[in-house]
Symmetry: C2
Subunit: 138 residues, 2 copies
DNA sequence: CCTAATGTCTCTAGCGGCTATAGCTTCAAG
DNA sequence: CTTGAAGCTATAGCCGCTAGAGACATTAGG
């Protein structure tokens, strides 16, 4: 049996975060020692590893909760799992595209600096006025 | 003089958000009507427009506060303004790079789906185990 | 066996950047 | 003058943690 600190060391998830996941229903309530401390099995450690990695991949706690629920019905088609992953991938791609628009716009703005005074700073003007933008970055 | 609703319509910033910006010190407290409602000048409307656009470009409220403070010292060199913008640009680029790592990894994971059952779902395995990853996406 | 250090417990509050709700007052058009 | 929209304050909630307080449990060394 592992203490919460052992789990933390094994997975890289901080101790308060593990308790938080329990509260949020991602980890089930573990057994307790005589003194009331949490004691985990290897299966519970592995589940935390799953959560950690899915979080690293950027999935929301809601999505992870769904995935865990699905993984407990092994007979089921994995289409739903696939859909969650694809949906997330789409979100990442959209986010990248938006950040790239920002990057382009900000890059242009920063380039325009003529190293003068704040009073006639083109950077400040461009930051304040969308009409000076070349792309739609909203 | 503009009401808070006028400002909202003019800039696209929601009414509660305008009050929030005031509370956060981004907008100074405006004058009030006899009945106690906020009344704004064109200068205040323009400042809100500045904030809106800077937010759209992804700057934090803290960064915007700094920019506003700088813009009130027009004699000063605009190097600090430039530095804030560049720092933000660097952050955006770092974020893009990280999201692209995630995109690559998730793309690979999603591709691996063999449309079977959850029980032997490669997507689920890959989501749970960083050892199956090709890149360092943490 | 005792002590000291470390780990763990619960509970509460805070972060950023809003958004929503409740219960009230004020304003402007007809 | 009435009415309905718009405004007011205050408070709480969202996500995903993180930090702190103050108390109890465990463990390693002497």
């Amino acid at each position: 049996m592992f203490s919460i600190g052992d789990l933390s060391a094994a997975t890289g998830v901080k101790v308060p975060t593990i308790r938080y996941y329990e509260q949020m229903g991602l980890m089930s309530a573990p057994s307790r020692s005589e003194g009331g401390q949490r004691r985990y099995t290897t299966a519970e450690r592995d589940r935390l590893g799953f959560i950690r990695h899915a979080r690293d991949l950027g999935l929301s706690l809601d999505a992870i909760r769904e995935l865990i629920a699905l993984s407990e019905e092994p007979e089921r088609s994995c289409a739903d799992v696939d859909a969650i992953a694809r949906r997330h991938l789409d979100q990442i791609r959209a986010r990248i595209a938006q950040l790239q628009r920002l990057e382009g716009e900000l890059g242009r703005i920063v380039q325009s600096c003529s190293r003068g005074t704040v009073g006639d700073c083109s950077v400040l003007q461009a930051l304040g006025d969308h009409a000076l933008c070349e792309t739609e970055h909203r």
